[in-house]
Structures are given as C-alpha cells and as structure tokens.
C-alpha cells in the first residue's frame, strides 16, 4: 500500500520541471516572435514620445525666459550657454534607449530568419529598426557634435555608434563623419524595406526614411541629395493642411489648433522635456520673431497665444499645448526642397515650393502676393526666414544655426539676465553641447 502511494507520488513529481515552467508574471515575455519584436518597436512611450533631444532647443534662441532672474542657478547657466554638470536622465539616455530597442530587435530578427510567409512583417521590423537607429543617431550627432564640415568632420568627435544590445561593449566616440555615415546607411537600407505609408504614424515608413535622408543631407550641406530625397518623400506624401479650411485644423484660436496625426505628419515623435526651459508654458517667443509674422499669416493665430506681456507657442502637431512635436511633417520637406533648389540655382522652383506652402498658411479672405526672388542669396534668405517661422519649436533650429554659420552667416545669439548680456559666437565650440557628466565619468570618453 505504502509502496503504491510512494510510487504514485514519485510519478506525479516526474513532471515537476513542467510545474516550474509556468511564467511567474502573466504579463512577462521573452520577446522572440515576430509580432513581439514588432511590439518592441511599437512601444510609443520608448520609441517616439518624450524622446528627441531637447538641449539644443533649450539653447537655440527662438524663445526667452522673462522670469529667468528668479530661477535656479543651474537653469540660468544653461540659459546663457555655460557648461554645467548634468546627469541621468537626459537627452543622451533618452536617445540611446530606442537605439538599444532597435539593436535588440535586429538581433532577435536574425535568429528568426526571413521566409515567404513572414516576409512583409519581417521587412517592416528590420526596416523600422534600422530607421529608428538612424533617426536617433542623427539627432544625437546634430546636438552633441559640431556642425558638419567636410574638411574637419572626419576628425571631430560625434557621438557613440552602438550596433549591438550587449551592454558590455565599451562606448567610444566616433567622428561626426562616421556617425552621419552610419545614419545614412541605416536610413537607406530601411527605405528599401519599409512600406510607403505606415499603419500608424508612430511607425516608420518609406516616406519617413526619405525625409530622414533629406534632413541628414541638408545638415551636411549636400543639397543635391537633400533635394533628391525630399522629392522622393513628397512623391509618396505631399499633403499640406490649408489653415483656412482643413478638417485637421480644429480651430486656429484654440489652445490645441491641430489634430494629432494630421495629414502633414510623416513620422511622429515628441521632444523630451529636458531641463524644462523650452516648455511652452514658461518659454516666451522671441519678440522680433513673433513680429515677423504678417497679420494675415494664420500661423500668427495658430502658433501663438498671449501669456502676460509676451507670446507663448501652441502650434505643436501633438494635440497638446505642452508637448512639442519633433517628427517629420511635409512642411519641413517642402522647405528642404525649396532650400536645396535655391542653393542649386533653381530659384523659380524654390519659390514655387515656398509659395505653395505659404499660401496654405495665408488668410483666404486676404489676397496672397507670392514671394519672388531674383538671385540665390535673396531666395535662400527668404526661404530660411520662412523655415524658421514655419518649423519653430521642433528641435530643428540648432542644426540649422550650425549649418548657416558653417556657410558664413555669422549668427550671434544673445540673452539677457538682469540687464547683463551673454552671447554665443557663431564659431563657438558650445555648438557641440556638453555631454552628461556621468557618462564622461563612467566611460572616459572626451567631453565637448
């Protein structure tokens, strides 16, 4: 009898390794299936929202802080382009998290293998991973590296290129050239794999990959390629919102004038809150910039609202007055194309692109007189002025400033605290903003 009982129990416990195989938390998983890898890239909270670098926007010069005299010392230091120590969390960690997710996805994808059945999804996952890696690598390079100069960028430090999820690999700073080269290769490879239009705009697409390439080449002042890819992007997606009538415009006077995922959005990301300086609730738009919008320019109503004596920005495509949209939208691509055309001598084509955009921003009841230009310098000046007015608070100005200064525009930024002026010289090394202090301490990579 006892023998039977014992035997029975022994038999029943034979399966105990199975008993221990159950998951300890039902929500947990070890991603490995294709839909799970896609899930990593669909994590909007880590891949798109609150992600893109903000230090550049904080020091970029489109806004000022009227209350700066009452703020904490460290905020005042950032405001006047003084180096200061900052630590985790920051733009660096925010940017390298999606890069890890992209690298992990690529590794998991390799184990899975591509076949006829899964080809479409597999390609989308691979293309998306490469795109995300490219997207954040470029943004970090544009913030932490000096502006591109074909003569010197082969020696000047950019950021860290990470191509593996293994955290044991030491970080080293690659050159600006290498960083931009990697971002271009990844985006090119991605463009061949991604669908023209994504399921949702938080996912990358072929249009987004072309927009990315156009943006990088523009930063490198390779206007021929910037034009080619702007063109390719606009071939897939060219819609603009007419601020007068568009259904994606909720109401120009509203706090939130535009719908999220509106028809101009090519790829959706949001800027991180960073040091908080550029938060629309505290930042006031540069008075001269605000005054440069003509009364019948609908952007003046849509983008701004009075807050005290000054104007506050509310023109984000994020359907929130406090969250800044920083992804790709067709307006940027039109402006990329216009500027490239102008640079390459196609003044007429350039002004056509510019006027096509501006007309959509003009009050329909008032006559729109198209901008014209006779020479390249004038055309570039007009396009660049409108570029600033159209794309403010999207994290683009810093890269543009570097580019313009590399072309000799000598833009000198100024800020005032308690009557004392501070300047950022056009060739300042501060254009490569300081890296986080803890990263320098942990890795020994050189500080800017």
């Amino acid at each position: 009898m006892l023998l039977l009982v014992c035997t029975g129990i022994v038999m029943s416990f034979m399966g105990c390794e199975k008993y221990l195989d159950i998951k300890s938390d039902s929500k947990l998983l070890i991603p490995g299936k294709l839909n799970e890898i896609q899930g990593i890239l669909d994590d909007v909270g880590q891949m798109n929202n609150g992600r893109t670098p903000s230090y550049a926007e904080a020091v970029g010069g489109d806004f000022f802080l009227p209350t700066i005299g009452t703020l904490n010392q460290s905020v005042r230091d950032i405001y006047v382009w003084k180096k200061f120590d900052y630590q985790f969390p920051n733009d660096w960690s925010n940017g390298y998290l999606p890069i890890y997710n992209a690298n992990l996805s690529l590794e998991l994808l390799d184990k899975l293998g591509r076949n006829n059945k899964n080809a479409v999804e597999w390609d989308n996952v691979k293309g998306s991973s490469l795109f995300f890696r490219s997207y954040y690598l470029y943004l970090l390079t544009a913030q932490y590296g000096l502006g591109f100069n074909s003569a010197t960028s082969g020696n000047e430090p950019g950021v860290v290129i990470r191509l593996s999820s293994d955290f044991n690999i030491r970080s080293v700073r690659s050159t600006v050239n290498e960083c931009l080269g990697q971002a271009i290769r990844d985006a090119e490879e991605a463009s061949a794999l991604l669908p023209d239009i994504p399921v949702v705009l938080t996912r990358p697409s072929k249009a987004a990959a072309f927009a990315q390439l156009s943006r990088i080449y523009l930063y490198m002042r390779d206007y021929e390629n910037a034009l080619i890819y702007a063109d390719k992007c606009l071939k897939i997606k060219s819609e603009l919102m007419d601020f007068n009538t568009d259904t994606d415009v909720l109401g120009l006077t509203l706090n939130v004038p535009f719908k999220k995922f509106n028809k101009e959005t090519v790829f959706y990301t949001e800027m991180s809150t960073g040091f908080g300086l550029h938060a629309p609730s505290s930042a006031r738009i540069d008075t001269a910039l605000y005054n440069s919008y003509l009364p019948n320019d609908l952007r003046k109503t849509a983008y701004f609202k009075a807050n005290g004596l000054y104007q506050q920005f509310k023109g984000s495509y994020s359907s929130s007055a406090s969250v800044l949209f920083s992804g790709f939208a067709t307006d940027e691509i039109y402006l990329n194309r216009a500027e490239s055309k102008a640079w390459l001598g196609d003044i007429g084509g350039a002004m056509d692109d510019l006027n096509f955009l501006l007309k959509k921003r003009w009050r329909v009841s008032a006559p729109y007189s198209p901008l014209t230009s006779v020479n390249k310098i004038d055309a570039l000046r007009k396009i660049r002025t409108e570029r600033r007015k159209e794309l403010l608070m999207r994290g683009l100005r810093w890269a543009d400033l570097k580019r313009y200064n590399k072309e000799g525009e000598e833009i000198r930024l100024q800020r005032v605290i308690n009557g004392v002026s501070y300047f950022l010289e056009p060739n300042s090394l501060f254009y490569a903003v300081p890296l986080p202090a803890d990263i320098i301490e942990l890795t020994g990579i050189p500080q800017n």
Binding site: L3, M14, C16, D42, D43, Q87, F88, W92, S319, S320
Partner: protein, 1086 residues
C-alpha cells in the same frame, strides 16, 4: 520519451533520486526491528545511587524499556533487578536532564551504579522551539534560536504581532527611517543585520509550519503561543532560499489532550496622547509671511500671477491687492495679522486630531479528551487612531486534533480574519496652497468652513466658468467627509495534517495548507468633494458662444476600486525519525514540499458615481480632452488594470542530528529549492543549500565539576544559503501593454539581457555558549556570528549609452561581511518572600561592511544622502553616512566647503570634486545602530507586578534637516533654523546656518544640507513601556475564575537620554513623534 532533451532528463533524474530516497526510507522503516536481547536465567539484583544537585529533592524515577520501573529513596538510593542484557536504565525527573546507563554484561554490575544528574533550567524546559518543520527542546538543537513566549508577547500592546517582538529578544532590529525601494522590505525588521544588498530584506514569516503570504496584520496576537526567531544558518537553512534574512516562526495556541474545559479571555482599551505637531518643522506664520513679502517684492510670483489662474498663497493675494491699489496699507496689515495671530497647530489639533481609541477583546475555549482536543478563539479589535482613521478586525480560529487510532492522528485548523479600515482627517502640513505650505484659517469667526485656494485662484474660478462650473474651492474641514479611502481584507487559512506512526520512533506526516486573502481598496469621492469637483471642472467643455457646458467626466463622484487576491497552497510529505540506540540518539526528518503562491489583481475607476441611489456613468477613456484651464489635452485618468503573478516552488529537504551520551551533538541539514524563475536557465532554477553544526554539552562530561555552573554548552554551526531575485534574468524580458495613441499592443523591455547573473552566495558561522548558574539564578547565552555574502546583487552604475532606460543595472557586484554578538542574560536578583526582582537583558552588536564592490560610484560621495538606503562602498557599513567637510560660514553668510584643500564657495566644483575623488568629504559613521538592546526589569510584590523595558540604540548617525533657502522660496517650508541664520557680518562666529539667498541656488543648499554640521549622533536610550499588573487571588476573592489579572500599560514613553544637543529624537526626525499609548485591561480564565 524520445523527445526528451538532455537537460530535462537530468532534472527529472535529480528529482526522482530525491524521491527514491524518501521511498527507500519508508522501506527501511518497515524492515528495521527491535534488537532482541539475551535473557538471563537468573536475574541479578543490583543497587545504585543517584546524585542530584545540592538543594534539590533526591527522588528520581528509574525505568527500563521492557522491565518496569522504580524510584529512588529519599537519599537517592535505588534497587533494580537485571533480567536481560543489554539493559538500559533511564533516570528522569522533570527538573533534571535525563540520564541513562547501559548494562551489557555482568562485569558492568560489579560496582554500584552512580548516576550524577544535572538540573535543567526550568524556563528552558518549558520552552519549545518550533522551526516550522519540527518542535525541539533548546538542548536538542545546535541552532541559535530566540523564543518569545505568550507572556513576553503580552508585555506590549497593539494589534501587530511583529511589534510585540521588539525589545524582547536579541538580534532583532527595527529599521527606522530607512527607505528602500526593495518591495520585499515590508516588515522593516532585520534579524542579525543585513545579508544582502539588493536582495530581499524581510525575514521569512512562518505561521504554524507554513510560509505565511498574507498580511501580518491578519494575525491575532492573543492567539499566539510563542514566536521563535531562527537566527543562525543551522536553524534557518531548513527553510531554504528565502531564509537568508532569518526566519520568524509564529505558533498558535493549541489545546492539549486530556485537558479539562478552559475558557480564557482578554479585554483591553488603549488611548494615546495627542501628537506633538512641533515635530513638523515650520517657522511661525509671521515669518513665512515676511519671506513671501520679500519674494513678492522681488517678482518671484509674477510668473504665477501673470497666467491669472495659478493659486497664490493668501499672503501673496494680499500683497497683490495692495500692489494693484485695491486695498490700503492698513487693510493689508489687518489681513496679514489675521494669519499671524492664528495658532494653526492648535487649530489643527482641535479640528483634525484626537486621542485615538483602541479596544481589543479576545476569548478562547480549549478542551481535550483522551483522543481529541479542540480550541476555538475569537477576537475583536476596533478603534481609530489620532487622525480618526478607523480600523476593525475580527478573528475566528478553530483547531482540533484527533487520535483516529493509536497510530494515526488527524489535525485540522481553520482561521478566518476580517479587517477593515478607513482614512481619517488630513495630517498637519499636508495641505498645500499653490504648491506652498498652507497657513490659512480653517473656519471664520462664526465657525463656517473657509475655502483654501489649493490649485487655482478664487477670483479666476469664480468668474472663468461664467457661473457654469461647479464650485472650485477646497474646504479643509469638509473634504475628508466627502473623499474617503477604505479597505476590506479577508483571509481564510485552512490546514490539515495526517500523521501516521509507523513505528515508535518513526512517523510519516502529510500536510496541506491553503491560504486565500482578498483585499479591496476603495477610494470614494462623492460629488461634493473637491477631488470630484476639480476633476469634473477640469474636463468640462464650455462653449462660450452658446454657454452650453459638456461634462466629459459626468457631474458626480468617483469610485476607484482595487482588488487583490493572494492565495497560496502548500503540500508537504515528511518522514520523522527519532530513535535512541544505546547511548546515542538519532533525530532525522526528510521531506518534500510543493508550493504555489498566486496574486491576481484588478482595478477600475467609475465616474458619475453615487451610492444612493446607486448609479455610475460611462466615460471615454481612450480620447484626449483639453483641460478647462490650461488647454492641455489628456485622457480621463483611470481605466482598468490587471495583474497576475504566480510563483511556484518545489523543495526537498532533510535534517538530521546525532547525539552521543547527550554530550555531543552533530547536526546537518540540506535543502534543494526549485522555482519558476522567469527567463532563467534550468540550472539556475535549482539551488542547493546546506548547514552543519556541532554541539558539546561540557557540563555533561564526567570530568566536569563546576557545581556553581551546572549548565555549560558550546555549539558551532555553519551554513550556506543562496538568494535569487525572481525578477533578474539572462534574457531581455518585457511586458505587454497597449497605447491609446498608436492603438497597437506593444512590448516594453523591462530587464536588459544580462547573461552573467548568478545566485547570491551567503554563508554564516555561529558560535554560541549557553550557561546556567546554580539554582537558575542566572542563565543566558552569548552567540557570536560572522556572515559573508559574495556575488551579491548590486546596482551598478553602467554606461547607459547601452540602454538608456535606467542609470543602473543589477549585477553580481558585491561582497559583504557582517559580524556580531547576540547575548541574553536572565537573572533572578531577589527571590524573597513575597518580593521578587528579575531582569532580562538583551544585548546585540552588529557590524556589516562592504568588502568588494565593482562599481565606479564606489565613493564617499554616494553616502551624502544621509544613510537612508543601502549604499555599498568598500570598507564601510551598508548603511553609512558621509558629509562635506565644513569650513564654516564666510563673511557673507555663505557656507564654505573645501576645493583642492582650500576653503571655497564654488558649490558646483565642490560637488564635482566630491564625485571625482571625495577629498572634501568625510566619512562620519554607520547610519544604522551597531549596538542595541533592552533591559527588562520585573518587580513583584505579593500579587503586584511592575515591569518596564528600557531600550537603547547606539553607534550610529543621522542627518538632521536645517534651513534651506530653496525650500523657503519654492515650497514655503521655512525650517525654524531660519531664526538662527546668518543675518549680518559677525554672525558667522555664532551660527552655522547660512544666510537666506535669493534667487535660489539649490547647489548651495544641497551642499549645506550634506555638510558635517548637519550630521548628529543617533545614540539614545528610551523607556519603551511600563507594565503594572495585579493578580487576583481567585480563592480569596471567591470569584469563579481560575486566574484573573488586571493590568495597565504605558508605551512609547520617550527618550531618557540622547547624544545630540539639539533636542531631536534621532529615530523620528522631522515627523510628528510617536505618541504615548496608555492601556488598561483585564485577562483571566475559568
């Protein structure tokens, strides 16, 4: 079985071999049979003498296994007839250690037998140590165990059983003021210091033999017979991987067989003193207003003022009115005077605090026949605390044991616990106005509730909605009546066990326990609460053209429900062997256990809720809606959540001891645990643990002749255990979620792929001396232990370029060492006629330090935080404190530190140097007591007993708070050190508090708060409790009771001595200190 891969087969094999072993044991049990002796043809008569310690009666009981029994005469002589060889004679009496003589051959009988017996320490004999798997006498184990009996548990009052252990044993420390993000640190209690850095910190709680997964507050302390604290590895290793922090074994009261019906009861009432609100450090309102006026003049509030809606503190509202010319200077002064002249603390005490009241009643009935015993216990606790937060608990427990036949015993028990609680009134200092410390009046002169502008300015909310919005004011005296949180907790615990006595010395036991606890947390805000009105208003969409208002969140209350179900079941099969073979005795147990603990949780929020008539309304949780004031779109808070976790364990264990002549005892235990560690390799799911011990009763040796020290025993134990954090894995693991913006399910990586993770290794060596003086006047024990932990998990500052989601990763980065001493001394100082005085001294030393740590943040600068969390720095205690070297104040009232050896006020550079090489940082000392203990004195005169407990904590430091300009500016928190601040040249000689500076410089403030001047010694002595009781003589008073005691108790009586000169209670800094509790009660039985 062709598809079986190697790993699985291996594992299966391992599992099977353990089971085969058990089966084999069962067979052995059958085949083992008594040795038959050689019968003598002619019985031999012999005589002998038993010598007992001085002063004790000489009669001792003598018996043989097969040939009857006898007794000694009044001087200790006895006679015996030997009928067979071998003959084993046993000598026993309750107060003596048993002795034994084996007679094998005739020559053994040539001389008279002389047996020297040793007195057993009486209390020790009564004590039974429960390890959860077995019950043993103190002299039958090599382990170091403290037992706290029912009487000692009764010395403290209160509803929580763990609170009653404090100060009643050595080695047990309540960690005060320690924050640890570790979720497994719920009890705040540590046994013998720390054994891990990042692993679980709670001791394992065992109730009646099974790991207890419920809430400790479910346990009725009056129903507890004893609590055993298993401290060393030898005692605790039987509990396996989770026993690294010690084990607290709680045993319920049980009825005995052959017990006549007995009913016992307890009733007591506790009231507490009113809290001392000065513990909340805030300067007088007059000075807060002065600071606000200064800030107002500097334009600090302009940013808030300009947007028109942000709430302003009442002082700022007045200054603003004056600036706009709406009031005169005299009206301003009058307005300010109203705030200045109000004693807010007094108002608050009157409105929101009480003495609290706790009533506790408990009754238990026990009875037993020859074949059955049963007990029923019922208890009710009810009351409210000083802030009127209510609590209730009902306990009911039934236990029985039945002898089905002489070999088979069935034990069952079932207990029910029902607890509930509700929130009270707002704590002093908890209500902010415009994110600043509030100081408005609570009621007007007529007693009507006054509104506080918590979030938005009254003149904005009054007009913005053009009368369409709900009242947007917050009324501190009303809110708690309309927004309440409460909980309900029910637990059902069932237990059953069948014990089959295979042979006299061998039994087989199968037992099963099932536990289920349901917890519901409810937050209700009715439509009149600010919480609801604020939410409804914020989401209201007002069409200003038509004046039509649309409620995105319906006008009404909200109901937020969170349910959690914790259940566990454990099945156990165990073989117990207890056999004397000649002069040796063998004790052995082996068993297997399978356990599952599950947690299922869900939560949801309902809006438009109303309880009578019951209704709620559906809302859209997916869309985003613009905020009425800020225009920022956000979804409606809430929605649903679901949680489901299940942890499974399979364990095989064995424990054996061999004792020779009662002098030497060799013991060992082994255990192998398997668990469903997620994402781990199969090999990492299993972990073997073992321990070994050696005991030597020196006083039992024939050569031992120290008659003044009749008990002397040495034990040495060593054990190895491990620890695995169930959340750490080798693969990148993630969790599923869904996002309303993308509408796609996503996977979020929560743990990075970390293939190098291993189990933590912990070892402990323990050396203990037990001793007892003649007549049991003094007895005690001293135990010395060393702990060593290697491969400990530690947070490792890594290059977050690799991941970015966290600044730290967990790796096996640290080794730690702990050592200490636990001592207990129990003495009977005066044993007089009618007057007795006894003392119990508990004394503990504990030192722990990190001996290895592979991390770059391995520097003193990591310890500037004040020692509230475990921070490993090589060579220093796990909880330690460091501070910036202090250079005094400069001529402008700025605090000075050191930079490259020179005085400096460049706080950024000071902080950078501190992080770089810590040259300007001093190590101060441990931040957790290294020496602690308590002294209990009991004095009894006739039927009166007075006992009091004085406890002490020495050898540690704490960081006190001081004045901070940033806090004063940013949150209106004005620490009273403000009065001591530097104000004019020369003050630097007399004060260390820096001047008030504006605009704020948070680096200056953080330097000062972490400077040497703000670290104080924590050493203190406090009077824990005083207990006074009177024992009624039932016969004299002719009352129908067997026993009846009335008692009074006063607890938390405060500090008797402290090392710091600032009048601060180092264990309760900056908080409303523990209040005194006064209890009166009655207990008895009939």
């Amino acid at each position: 079985m062709g598809g079986c891969n190697n790993e699985r087969c291996l594992l299966g094999g391992r599992v099977c071999s353990a089971w085969s072993f058990l089966v084999l044991l069962c067979f052995l049990a059958f085949f083992d049979s008594p040795v038959f002796g050689q019968k003598l043809k002619v019985p031999i008569k012999i005589t002998g003498k038993v010598i007992v310690p001085d002063g004790l009666p000489n009669q001792v009981y003598v018996r043989s296994k097969n040939y009857g029994s006898a007794g000694t005469d009044s001087i200790g002589n006895f006679r015996w007839v030997v009928r067979a060889f071998p003959e084993t004679l046993r000598f026993s009496r309750v107060d003596l250690y048993p002795a034994m003589r084996i007679l094998r051959k005739e020559s053994d009988l040539s001389a008279p037998i002389v047996v020297r017996m040793i007195q057993q320490v009486k209390e020790l004999e009564q004590v039974e140590i429960s390890t959860g798997y077995q019950k043993v006498k103190p002299n039958e184990t090599n382990g170091t165990v403290s037992v706290i009996d029912a009487k000692m548990l009764g010395a403290r009052t209160g509803t929580n059983i763990l609170d009653r252990l404090l100060g009643q044993s050595s080695g047990l420390l309540l960690n005060v003021g320690k924050s640890n993000s570790n979720p497994q640190n719920k009890t705040g209690i540590s046994v013998r210091g720390l054994g891990t850095i990042n692993g679980p910190l709670d001791p394992l709680i065992v109730l009646d033999g099974f790991i207890y997964e419920g809430d400790i507050n479910n346990i009725n302390p009056f129903d507890i017979e004893s609590v055993s604290i298993l401290k060393d590895a030898s005692a605790s290793s039987i509990w396996g991987a989770r026993a690294g922090n010690g084990v607290i074994v709680i045993s319920s009261k049980k009825a005995r067989m052959n017990q006549s019906l007995s009913i016992s009861f307890n009733a007591n009432v506790t009231v507490r003193s009113l809290p001392d609100l000065d513990g909340f450090k805030q300067a007088a309102t007059a000075d807060v207003l002065d600071v606000e006026r200064f800030l107002f003049d500097k334009g600090y509030f302009d940013a808030r003022i300009v947007n028109g809606y942000s709430a302003l503190s009442p002082g700022v509202e007045l200054f603003l009115s004056r600036r706009k010319g709406q009031i005169t200077a005299a009206q301003l002064e009058e307005g300010l005077e109203a705030f200045r002249s109000t004693d807010l603390k007094q108002e608050w005490l009157k409105e929101f605090y009480s003495h609290g009241l706790l009533q506790q009643y408990s009754v238990s009935i026990r009875s037993g026949t020859a074949k059955n015993s049963q007990s029923v216990t019922a208890a009710i606790d009810r009351g409210y605390d000083q802030s009127f937060a209510g609590s209730r608990r009902y306990n009911l427990r039934y236990a029985q044991e039945t002898l089905i036949n002489p070999r088979l015993t069935l034990s069952t028990s079932i207990s029910l616990s029902f607890s509930s609680g509700s929130s009270g009134r707002p704590a002093y200092g908890s209500v902010l106005v415009g994110s600043r410390q509030g100081y408005s009046l609570l009621r007007d002169a007529a007693g009507n509730p006054l509104p506080w502008a918590r979030e938005f300015r009254a003149n904005y909310t009054d007009t913005a909605g053009t009368g369409k919005l709900l009242d947007w004011n917050y009324y501190p005296t009303e809110e708690y009546k309309h927004a309440r949180s409460s909980f309900n907790r029910q637990e059902l615990l069932g237990f059953g066990s069948l014990r089959y006595k295979l042979l006299d010395f061998l039994n087989l036991e199968a037992s099963y326990q099932r536990q289920k606890q349901d917890l519901t947390n409810i937050q209700v805000s009715d439509g009149e609460s600010f919480a609801s009105r604020n939410l409804v208003n914020s989401f209201s969409q007002l069409n200003r053209a038509t004046g039509v208002i649309r409620y995105v969140i319906p006008n009404g209350g909200s109901l937020n429900t969170d349910r959690q179900e914790v259940s566990s079941s454990t099945a156990r099969l165990q073989v117990n062997l207890d056999k004397n073979i000649g002069v040796s005795s063998i004790g052995f147990l082996a068993g297997a256990e399978i356990r599952e603990a599950r947690l299922e949780g869900s939560g949801n929020v309902l809006y438009g809720y109303q309880d009578d008539p019951l209704i709620y309304q559906a809302v859209d949780f997916t869309g985003s809606y613009p905020n009425f004031i800020t225009g920022i779109s956000s979804p409606i808070p809430g929605g649903m959540n679901l949680v489901s976790t299940q942890n499974r364990f399979i364990s095989f264990y064995g424990n054996g001891s061999y004792s020779y002549r009662g002098r030497y005892r060799l013991s060992g235990s082994i255990r192998r645990d398997g668990s469903n560690v997620f994402g781990a390799n199969t090999n990492d799911k299993w972990k073997p643990l073992w321990s070994a011990g050696l005991g030597w009763s020196l006083s039992q040796e024939p050569f031992y002749n120290l008659s003044w020290l009749p008990v002397l025993r040495l034990t040495l134990t060593y054990g190895k255990s491990g620890n695995v954090d169930l959340s750490k894995t080798a693969y990148a693991t993630g969790a599923m979620g869904s996002n309303s913006a993308s509408t796609l399910p996503f996977v979020r990586i929560s743990r990075i792929n970390n293939p190098d993770l291993r189990w933590e290794q912990l070892s402990q060596v323990n050396l203990k001396v037990d001793f007892g003086l003649r007549g049991d006047r003094v007895r005690g024990s001293i135990a010395y232990y060393r702990k060593h932990g290697s491969d400990l998990y530690g947070s490792y500052l890594y290059d977050y370029t690799a991941w970015g989601a966290s600044a730290e990763l967990t790796r096996n980065v640290a080794d730690m060492e702990g050592k200490g001493l636990d001592a207990e001394l129990h003495s009977k100082n005066i044993l007089g006629d009618g007057f007795n005085w006894s003392s119990d001294l508990y004394f503990s030393l504990n030192k722990s330090k990190t001996v290895k740590y592979y991390s770059t943040n391995n520097s003193l600068s990591a310890l500037l935080g004040g020692g509230s969390s475990i921070t490993p720095v090589v060579g220093l205690p796990l909880y330690s404190i460091s501070a910036y070297r202090w250079g005094g104040l400069d001529g402008a009232g700025n605090p000075m530190g050191y930079l490259k050896g020179n005085l400096s006020t460049d706080y950024t550079a000071i902080a950078a140097e501190g992080r770089l090489n810590a040259a300007n940082i001093e190590y101060i000392g441990p931040a957790s007591p290294t020496s602690f203990g308590s002294l209990i004195n009991s004095l009894s005169f006739r039927n009166f007993t007075l006992s009091f407990n004085i406890s002490y904590r020495f050898g540690y430091f704490v960081k006190k708070r001081s004045f901070s300009s940033s806090e004063a500016i940013g949150s209106g928190l004005l620490h009273p050190d403000y009065y001591l601040r530097w104000q004019r040249s020369g003050d630097e000689v007399v004060t260390t508090v820096p001047s008030f500076v504006y605009p704020q410089n948070s680096q200056r403030d953080s330097f000062y708060s972490s400077a040497e001047v703000n670290v104080i010694a924590g050493d203190n002595i406090r009077l824990d409790y005083v207990n006074f009781s009177y024992h009624l003589n039932a016969e004299k008073w002719r009352i129908p009771f067997r026993t009846l005691d009335v008692f009074a108790n006063a607890a938390n009586l405060g500090l008797l001595w402290k090392a710091n000169k600032f009048g601060l209670d180092p264990d309760y800094l900056d908080q409303v200190t523990q209040t005194k509790g006064y209890t009166i009660g009655i207990k008895g039985s009939f």
